[in-house]
C-alpha cells in the first residue's frame, strides 16, 4: 500500500482518458472528520455533482449540509426525493432513508430495510449511481467500522467507474477500506492527502 501520497502529475496520469461526470464519497466512523479535510479541496466552479454519504443516527435531521455549507464555495444540500441532480452541487444523504440515483439523474429515497445495519446505506447509493453513470462515476471509500460500501464500490468498479479506497493505514478505522480491498482492486489506494489532491482533478477542466 502506498504510504506516501503520489504527486499531482502521477494522479493526473491515473485519470488519463477518463471523463468523470459525478463523484460519490462514502464513509462511516471517522468520515465526517475526513470530509472536513477533503471537501474544502473542491475549487470554486467545480462542475461535477458530489454525493456524500456517512452513517448517522436515524434522527430526523442531519446538520451536515449546514456545517459544510459554511465551509465550501459550492452549494451544499440534503438530497431530496425526485430532485434533479445539479452539477457543481454537494449533496448529503439524509438520515433514516436509503438514497439512490435514478437513471434520469434524479434522486429517490426509500424505506427498505437497513443494509449492514445502515440506512442510508453506502452500498445502495453507490450501486444505483453506478447504474446511472457507469464509467463516468468516481467512487471514494473512506474510513469506517463496518462492511457497508464494499459492495457498492465493487459495483462502481464492475461498471467501469473509477475507484479510490482510503489507505487503511491512513484511515481512522480501517475496517471499511479493508473490506473493499478484499473484494476488488481499486484504481487507487490513497491517504487522505492524496484524495485531496485527486478530487479537483476529476473535473477535466481543472488545470
Amino acid at each position: 500500500m502506498n504510504a506516501a501520497a503520489p504527486s499531482r502529475d502521477e494522479l493526473r496520469a491515473a485519470l488519463a482518458g477518463r471523463r468523470i461526470e459525478a463523484v460519490v464519497i462514502g464513509g462511516s466512523a471517522g468520515s465526517v472528520d475526513a470530509l472536513v479535510e477533503l471537501l474544502p479541496a473542491l475549487p470554486r466552479g467545480y462542475r461535477l455533482p458530489v454525493f456524500c454519504i456517512v452513517h448517522l443516527a436515524a434522527d430526523r435531521e442531519s446538520r451536515l449540509p449546514e456545517i459544510f455549507s459554511a465551509r465550501l464555495p459550492a452549494p451544499v444540500r440534503e438530497a431530496a426525493d425526485k430532485e434533479e441532480i445539479v452539477p457543481g452541487t454537494v449533496y448529503f444523504a439524509g438520515p433514516g432513508y436509503h438514497l439512490s440515483v435514478e437513471r434520469d439523474f434524479t434522486f429517490s429515497l426509500s424505506c427498505e430495510p437497513p443494509v449492514a445495519f445502515a440506512r442510508p446505506a453506502i452500498d445502495v447509493l453507490m450501486a444505483s449511481a453506478a447504474d446511472a453513470y457507469g464509467p463516468g462515476l468516481a467512487g471514494i471509500l473512506l474510513t469506517g467500522a463496518n462492511h457497508d460500501g464494499a459492495e457498492g464500490m465493487a459495483a462502481i468498479h464492475a461498471g467501469g467507474g473509477f475507484t479510490v479506497v482510503q489507505d487503511p493505514e491512513d484511515a481512522q478505522v480501517p475496517t471499511m477500506p479493508l473490506e473493499a480491498l478484499r473484494r476488488f482492486t481499486p484504481n487507487l489506494v490513497l491517504p487522505l492527502a492524496g484524495i485531496q489532491t485527486l478530487l479537483p482533478l476529476f473535473d477535466s477542466e481543472e488545470p
Partner: protein, 275 residues
C-alpha cells in the same frame, strides 16, 4: 446516459408482463429501488436471471404472489415519526372534531401499523366512533396481516416509545394482548375499518374523505404517478380536507402544488384548497 444493461432490459419486460398478465402496474415505480427488490426476489426464488423469474411468474400465479411480496414494501412501524402523529393530534384532530362523521383514508396501508396508530389516536381524541377508516393496499397478503393486527412482540418497546412521543394518553400496553405469538391489537380499534384492495396506480376515487394519510408510499413512484396520486387525493378530499405525507415527501415539485396549502412543512401536513 449509461446504456441499459441486460438486467435493466429484463426488468422492464418483467413489469410489463406483470401488468399485462396480472394487471398490477409497477411501470411508474422508481427504478433503483425496484431493481434491488427484484434482485432480492431472484435470490429468494432461486432464479438465475430476471427472464427466468418472468417465465415462472407468467405461468405460475403462486410465483407471482411471491414476487408481489418483494415488489411491495411492507416495511413500516407504529407511530413512525412521532412528531407527525403529535401534529395530527394537535392540529388536525381539533378540526376533525367539528364534523359529525368522518372518513379517513390510509392509502398504502401495508401491514396496518399506521392504521392501528391512527385508530388509537382517533380513539383518544374521542373521534374513533364517528370515523370510517378506509385502509387500502395492493398487496392482499399485507391487507390480511393488517386485518389480523398481530405485531411482533419485540417491536413493542420501540412502538411504546414512539407512542409516548406522539402524545399518547394511556399506557400503550392497554391496546394489545400477547396472543398468536405476537401482540394482538384491540379488535375494537378496527371495527370501523374497511380493509380494501385499491391501486393508486390504476384505480379511482371511492369516497369523499376528510383526512388522507399516505406516508412513504409515493417515494416509490415516479413524478408521473405521484401526480396521478395527488390528483386522486385532491378529488377525494372534502373542502379544506387534510393530507399527511412521509417526512421526506413533498408536493412542492408536483403539478398539484398549488392545489394544496402547507399546514406544517416539517410534519408534511397539507390542506386542500379550491375544489
Amino acid at each position: 446516459m449509461n446504456p441499459l444493461s441486460d438486467i435493466d432490459i429484463e426488468l422492464r419486460m418483467l413489469v410489463e408482463a406483470v401488468y399485462l398478465k396480472y394487471n398490477y402496474d409497477f411501470r411508474d415505480y422508481t427504478g433503483a429501488s425496484q431493481k434491488r427488490r427484484v434482485l432480492a426476489a431472484l435470490k429468494a426464488m432461486a432464479c438465475a436471471t430476471v427472464s427466468e423469474l418472468q417465465a415462472r411468474v407468467m405461468h405460475d400465479p403462486a410465483a407471482f404472489t411471491r414476487l408481489l411480496q418483494f415488489l411491495t414494501i411492507p416495511v413500516t412501524e407504529m407511530f413512525r415519526d412521532p412528531e407527525y402523529f403529535l401534529a395530527v393530534r394537535q392540529q388536525v384532530a381539533p378540526v376533525l372534531k367539528t364534523y359529525p362523521s368522518l372518513n379517513v383514508w390510509v392509502a398504502g396501508c401495508s401491514t396496518g401499523e399506521e392504521v392501528y396508530s391512527l385508530a388509537i389516536l382517533l380513539q383518544e381524541e374521542g373521534l374513533l366512533e364517528r370515523t370510517q377508516i378506509y385502509a387500502t393496499d395492493i398487496n392482499p397478503d399485507a391487507l390480511e396481516a393488517a386485518r389480523r393486527g398481530v405485531m411482533p412482540l419485540e417491536r413493542m418497546r420501540l412502538y411504546t416509545e414512539n407512542y409516548q412521543k406522539s402524545g399518547g394518553k394511556r399506557a400503550f400496553s392497554d391496546y394489545y394482548t400477547a396472543a398468536y405469538g405476537g401482540a394482538l391489537f384491540e379488535r375494537s380499534l378496527v371495527e370501523n375499518v374497511t380493509f380494501a384492495d385499491h391501486s393508486l396506480a390504476t384505480d379511482s376515487v371511492f369516497a369523499e374523505t376528510h383526512f388522507i394519510s399516505c406516508r412513504n408510499v409515493m417515494i416509490y413512484f415516479n413524478r408521473r404517478l405521484q401526480n396521478r396520486v395527488l390528483g386522486l387525493f385532491h378529488e377525494s378530499l372534502c373542502h379544506r380536507g387534510f393530507l399527511g405525507l412521509g417526512s421526506k415527501e413533498s408536493i412542492e415539485f408536483s403539478s398539484h402544488a398549488q392545489r394544496f396549502e402547507v399546514m406544517s412543512r416539517r410534519e408534511r401536513l397539507y390542506r386542500k384548497v379550491g375544489t
